[in-house]
């Protein structure tokens, strides 16, 4: 190719490039990390230094919310709201039938599977919903970003998003807000552009409930082992940071904070190692219930009584608690929160008010109310707080057996 002609072609290519340039990059400022920096906490022995996710203001707000009575029907906690600040949604009013879209972070753990089944059952209750288009991001931020972009073009009346990771999903959510009313639930994002953010009271309450139970039950000087799933997940980090505050203020000695990746075998090994190393463990704090049964078994295998411990509202833990008479309590991160986004979407499309931040109640299971949450016919990894008992298709739809 003689020299001048190549030059000409190059210039032409450049002009075409410049002209046709459009962008799908989400406009709007990439969210700044909201809230004040973590207030300096004296690092107590054994519990290490405070997580950088700890926000004192949120911590105080959540602890206070625990005692506030929620507004709304008592028998339908997924429609209740604590200290709601309603926001007007008249601008989004349109008549049915409505087409809802949902960008799901993942279905890779039992909690999300129970929730997803419950959400689908909720959609079935309302004929005015013509269809729910849902995309599973398989736990990949990059995929959820392109999923959200794809859903924007699907002509949805409302877009429900359960973000995989707070920071990385913020730009995509911001962009979606401009196109369609967005409802965010489960994990938050660093922007307030969604119409409503639905979540139970939150991690601080979960962690504090569990820690306060242990502080009450375990005598002073008792050895506490804290088990966490994995670092960096904001929902779990807040649970531990609240528990740390409670333990630092108590006379209990936290002998170890270990990560189990939610794997029962690893959890059981860690516990037996600590039993060997410290001779005895007087209390076990856990940031989630996935491996609680395995932890109790570790003590049984070592021939020791199971000390006071905390878990979650999964049936296998509740059943073991009941059968073996454990001293335990189970804070919850209710799966019924998966029903609320559908209800909120319908409210928005009918122009009714919805709370800006929809704080759902977050009951905790104690020895007294254990029997109400124990459902023998449900599978071991089923979450009691699914709020799905009265929905059509229960219990088979959720893996339970009749009667």
């Amino acid at each position: 190719m003689p020299r001048p002609r190549t030059l000409l072609v190059a210039v032409a290519a450049l002009t075409v490039l410049a002209a046709g340039c459009t962008t799908d990059r989400p406009t709007g400022a990439a969210g700044q990390r909201s809230g004040a920096g973590a207030s300096p906490q004296p690092p107590a022995a054994g519990t290490g230094d405070q997580s950088k996710f700890f926000v004192q203001a949120d911590y105080d707000a959540q602890l206070a919310m625990r005692s506030q009575t929620p507004e709304g029907p008592a028998d339908r906690p997924w429609e209740q709201a604590i200290a709601p600040e309603p926001v007007d949604t008249a601008e989004h009013r349109k008549d049915g039938p409505y087409r809802l879209c949902f960008s799901n972070a993942a279905v890779n753990n039992p909690w999300r599977q129970v929730g997803w089944k419950t959400m689908q059952a909720e959609v079935a209750l309302h004929e005015e919903i013509s269809g729910l288009t849902a995309l599973d991001a398989e736990g990949k931020d990059d995929k959820q970003i392109s999923d959200i972009a794809e859903l924007q073009a699907k002509g949805c009346d409302v877009l429900i998003i359960s973000p995989n990771t707070t920071a990385t999903l913020t730009p995509a959510v911001t962009a979606a807000c401009a196109e369609v009313p967005v409802i965010v639930f489960d994990r938050g994002v660093e922007t307030d552009c969604p119409v409503t953010f639905i979540k139970p009271i939150g991690g601080y309450a979960f962690g504090a409930d569990a820690a306060e139970f242990l502080v009450a039950k375990v005598p002073a000087g008792g050895k506490i082992l804290a088990l966490r799933i994995s670092p960096g997940v904001d929902v779990l980090e807040t649970r531990w940071s609240a528990a740390k505050v409670a333990f630092d203020a108590s006379e209990l000695e936290v002998v170890g904070v270990e990560f189990t990746d939610g794997d029962a075998a690893k959890a059981k090994s860690v516990v037996s190692d600590y039993i060997q190393r410290h001779g005895r463990i007087d209390g076990v704090w856990m940031d989630s219930g996935a491996t609680s049964v395995a932890v109790a078994e570790a003590f049984e295998d070592a021939g020791l009584p199971v000390p006071p411990m905390t878990g979650e509202d999964q049936q296998d833990f509740l059943r073991k608690w009941k059968d073996d008479g454990l001293t335990a309590m189970a804070p919850t991160y209710p799966t019924y929160q998966w029903r609320t986004p559908i209800i909120a979407a319908l409210k928005i499309l009918k122009g009714e008010e919805v709370p800006k931040v929809w704080n759902l109640p977050q009951p905790k299971i104690t020895a007294e109310n254990l029997d109400t949450y124990l459902q023998p016919s449900m599978p071991p990894l089923h979450y009691a707080l699914c709020g799905c008992e009265d929905m059509p298709g229960f219990p088979e739809g959720w893996g339970g057996t009749k009667g």
Partner: protein, 313 residues
């Protein structure tokens, strides 16, 4: 035996270090507890040994263990009577998966890395498709007994180790290693090459069944029970001095490699380097161990057998 000495030495050093850090380790309960926890990986390493010594890989064992546990929970669903029939079904399932891996690798001539990677994806997808994404049902006490009671676990480990050593001494083991070394020469000596290599995959599948039963028993049903086990098993076998590419290595060394890896994890845990840095230390140890092994073998890069160029007239 000559080949197993280096890894046994490393294992002894690590066990001594553990004993120092945690004297309880010396008491029978302590040591047997360690052996029980290492049992699943040792058994998986034995299964993986047969595959690697025949010159292949089996990436599907991790997913197979998860499938075994999840299927067991779903079918037993808590009733004790179902324990034995389900155990039998699990064995059949494991052997069938091994057979499938073997057939795809030998008859369809798909490199085993890809065949078992495909099987890994199929297994993990299929089991969660069937259970709707989350493990359901529960394991019976009869099932969990094997994994929870140290006695049973150690007994199963001992029996498996004995069976495996006998297999390697028998005609099957010898011809398998020869096939891994030079498949063409073995075929022309009358070795049923495909049958032997398929059997290696079936054994690997069987090892996943036994490991699954132990892990399921020990910790109950969970969705990630098998995650990453295939890489750990391959690492353990290689730590034992078995050469990737086939034709060299002893099964005792492979099992010792698994114990070494488990001892390493325990040691790291005792010295509190658990959490993130454990991976870094594991990575360094693996490379160092294999590098030390490779240095001693001057012919580490086996010259590829020139089968084709010499297909005579």
């Amino acid at each position: 035996m000559r080949r197993t000495l280096p890894i046994l030495a490393v294992l002894a050093v690590l066990l001594a270090a553990i004993a120092i850090a945690n004297p309880f380790f010396l008491e029978p309960a302590g040591f047997l507890g360690f052996v029980r926890r290492a049992a699943p990986l040792v058994i998986l390493a034995a299964g993986q040994y047969f595959v690697i010594v025949s010159g292949e890989f089996d990436l599907s064992v991790g997913s197979l263990v998860t499938v075994e546990v999840v299927v067991a929970a779903r079918l037993i669903d808590g009733n004790e009577g179902a324990t034995w029939p389900v155990l039998l079904l699990l064995v059949v399932l494991g052997l069938l998966v091994g057979l499938a891996n073997g057939l795809v690798t030998t008859l369809l001539r798909v490199p085993s890395f890809i065949a078992t990677l495909g099987m890994m994806l199929v297994l993990s997808g299929a089991v969660f498709l069937w259970t709707g994404g989350a493990p359901r049902g529960a394991l019976s006490e009869g099932f969990r007994m094997f994994g929870r009671q140290t006695g049973w676990a150690v007994l199963i480990l001992a029996v498996t180790a004995l069976v495996v050593v006998l297999l390697t001494r028998a005609d099957f083991g010898r011809t398998l290693v020869a096939t891994g070394d030079n498949e063409r020469a073995a075929a022309l000596s009358g070795v049923r090459v495909n049958r032997v290599r398929i059997l290696a995959f079936v054994l690997s599948g069987a090892s996943a069944v036994v490991a699954g039963i132990l892990l399921g028993g020990f910790a109950g049903v969970s969705a990630q029970v098998g995650q990453g086990l295939e890489f750990q098993a391959i690492t353990a076998v290689v730590l034992g001095g078995v050469v990737l590419g086939g034709g060299r290595g002893s099964v005792v060394a492979a099992m010792a490699g698994a114990l070494t890896l488990e001892a390493l994890f325990t040691l790291l845990n005792l010295y509190g380097i658990s959490g993130a840095l454990e991976f870094t230390v594991q990575g360094v140890i693996i490379i160092a161990a294999v590098a030390a092994g490779a240095v001693r073998l001057p012919f580490a890069h086996p010259r590829r057998s020139k089968g084709d160029a010499h297909a005579a007239s």
